[in-house]
Symmetry: C2
Subunit: 457 residues, 2 copies
């Protein structure tokens, strides 16, 4: 059966790529309210597609924010297992636009990659799943297992409404296991099982001094400069050895075992300077960069701004300065507790002469780890290896997928992370892209996997 | 003679205010190339005005940048002294616009003040001089002394071309003394002789890490964050006691004498928190806020930016971060030497994993001090007192007027700073304004002064 589905995908590849481009051409940016209509259009694209494939109860579920697309397939019968497939159709903002070599919302194929915002995160990978469902339906007339589809439009802004939906509609979304393709492989064409993800939390620090920008000649020497105040605060939170210097931050961190350090050492790490353009690799004292990115917590200032940013000079003392901070957490750390520690630290070190306000990121998530020996995981590894013709490696990664923690917490079902992205995809950055190799072999992997898990009820 | 001129000013006040509004309505922002036409229009306004008054050789002198307006009056005869009057018709950018209570370029009178960008710095004060020249010509048919007018359009961007002009056209601009009205009084209606000004210099620090924004989950832990790197650099340049911690920064500073500290103590200082909205006054350890603002060097970050500044969160490691820094210098300090010290410091403390670039502000100026006992200064004090009915105080101020240092350096002529601004004028900030009291009594002061200095050849 899977042979026919595989053949279908090969024969219809151009058509599938064409429809992927239609999907990627919709600028479904969720952070920016200006894109509300595009969000609706992207959700509509999915509703139509799922209906055409033959899914039942296809609905664009209204939420206080962006709609959630839900659909069911029950044709595999009550003996077959039911999988909850999760993905998201919203994308990160494309700015700064001038750094893109082609329009982020006019997909373009160059050097075997599709360049477009969302090509890897996550519209490209969502599309592959739908294409594979289509392939089975068009050839076998049915899917090897029952499916519940959950594709949200708010992943890039914290999935707040999904969180509520998962709590309120437990019965509707419940399944035997979940599959998510919103992650990557350690290298192009290197099958990778992701058995651990980092948690996530954040704060925004707002420092206010005078109620308007001041002439630096008239008031310099009498008034605290909010940018300097914020710089002192930030410098006190992480030192130049990349050690986070917030009291208690590491207290609950599960120590890295020797086995785990070996597992990490075995993974071919990427050449960070080559992949990023940074002059050199810098990581936490006492840990390799691979260990730090995969299994140690991080603290990053994602943005900072205050005062004059235009051409030339403007001799002012700015009235305020802001820093946006997010942390990636590891097993053992509690997001709310970490937010508390960050806020306490900021308040303790805040200099005089300014008002410091700390906003806590509403949505946080604990880290996630699954047993690499689980049957559903081993089958995933086999499918990968069959499709890519290469041994599958097991890794933990620095990314965070809050929904993983929620599904586990609310439903207690096993979760399989089948990611096909690669380190060069430039997620969240200009020139995001996705390799056609991943597109082809990824769909192949999914065809095998649905077959293999047929018995897993 | 002066009586008639005074009467003329009173009788024609509404007309004068109307023409001031026309002048202030021209958005002559020099930093922003989009305002090139407005700059030309403002210069044109002055050319027309000076010609109508009866000045000779009125010219809009072309420069590589914005034009300089020059004019002469030689009708007082060879026995009368010649004054070089300097001012500028360009203004600071008006942003952030949303913080203005009325359009920055539609002057509005509220609570006895004219609200408009440039009302105090410096178009309002320039206009007062022309109005007084007009008053004398329309009444006496001549001015009490010969005048050379020099009004530039690049003061807010460093006066680069004026600097060259003053060097190249020494004969044309030479005079017996110079008068500049581009400063303020210590309080509204408190006649103030400014006998000292700070110097000025600056640098811009650019920190670059990866060549594009990175996903913080994929690379957090392997790559140095440019914002954190910049925060560490800035925090190392000035401590929380407001002491500049750059090696050698204070080496050449003329120490404050006890006499000077007393002179400063005698000036009624403003209530800084009340005037600025800052929660409290903060100044250099060991000095009062008045001493620091008037007579001690300062270091201010005027603007800083890097990474994501939009709504919500964006979990990236930004590819770069920038800080714009300017310092106000005191007598003894050499701007170029200070720039060198700042750059050396930045390079020394710059962390690994990033590339740090330091741009030096091209235009700098030494500090300026004049003898409070000079005859031209004492006459200015008398004119002030006559007009405002209050004793004149002598102060040094934190502002910098590079042209003062240049005129002194190139021509060696005495310079009198006749400023009529007030601490509440919000120079360089939203809601800049200028008191009508200063407008009226300021013109009165000028009428008296031109009379008094009649013999000063």
């Amino acid at each position: 059966m899977s042979e026919k589905a595989l053949a279908y995908i090969k024969e219809n590849r151009d058509d599938l790529l064409g429809r992927l481009n239609d999907f990627l051409s919709i600028p479904s940016v969720s952070t920016d309210s200006a894109h509300k209509q595009d969000i609706e259009e992207a959700a509509g694209f999915l509703v139509t597609y799922l209906t055409d494939i033959g899914f039942e109860n296809v609905e664009k579920q209204k939420t206080p924010g962006h709609p959630l697309v839900y659909a069911e397939y029950n044709g595999a019968g009550s003996d077959a297992p039911t999988v909850l497939f999760y993905g998201h159709y919203d994308v990160q903002p494309a700015d700064p636009l001038e750094l893109w070599d082609s329009d982020p919302f006019k997909p373009e194929v160059r050097d075997g990659r599709v360049f477009a915002r969302g090509s890897s995160d996550d519209k490209g990978q969502v599309f592959m799943h739908l294409a594979v469902f289509e392939a089975y339906m068009k050839t076998d007339g049915k899917l090897p297992l029952n499916v519940k589809v959950c594709i949200e439009g708010e992943e890039e802004i914290g999935s707040e409404n999904l969180y509520d939906t998962l709590h309120e509609k437990k019965e509707q979304f419940d399944a035997d296991f979940a599959v998510i393709s919103d992650s990557g492989m350690v290298a192009e064409n290197q099958p990778t099982i992701l058995y651990g993800l980092k948690g996530f939390t954040g704060i925004e620090i707002n420092v206010t001094g005078p109620d308007h920008d001041l002439h630096s000649g008239m008031y310099g020497g009498a008034i605290r400069n909010p940018i300097m105040a914020l710089s002192h605060i930030l410098a006190s939170m992480k030192n130049e050895e990349e050690v986070i210097t917030v009291d208690g931050f590491y207290d609950d961190v599960e120590p890295l075992t020797e086995e785990e350090r070996k597992l990490i050492a075995d993974v071919d790490g990427e050449n960070y300077p080559e992949a990023t353009g940074a002059p050199e690799t810098v990581s936490e004292e006492g840990y390799t960069a691979k260990e730090h990115t995969m299994a140690r917590p991080t603290f990053e200032v994602n943005g900072m701004y205050g005062g004059y940013q235009g051409e030339g000079t403007k001799t002012i003392i700015p009235s305020s300065a802001t820093a946006k901070i997010t942390c990636r957490l590891v097993p053992g750390q509690d997001p709310e507790k970490i937010q508390g520690l960050l806020e306490d630290h900021v308040r303790r070190v805040a200099p005089t002469g300014v008002t410091v306000d700390v906003k806590k990121e509403k949505l946080s998530a604990k880290a996630y780890k699954v047993e690499p020996e689980h049957d559903l995981i081993k089958k995933a590894a086999n499918s990968y290896t069959k499709a890519f013709g290469k041994e599958t490696v097991y890794v933990r990664m620095g990314g965070s997928i809050p929904v993983v923690e929620w599904i586990e917490g609310i439903y207690g079902m096993p979760i399989v992370l089948l990611g096909f992205g690669t380190p060069d995809d430039r997620l969240h950055s200009p020139n995001e892209s996705f390799p056609l190799d991943s597109f082809d072999k990824g769909m192949e992997t999914l065809v095998y996997y649905w077959n293999e898990v047929n018995g897993n009820k």
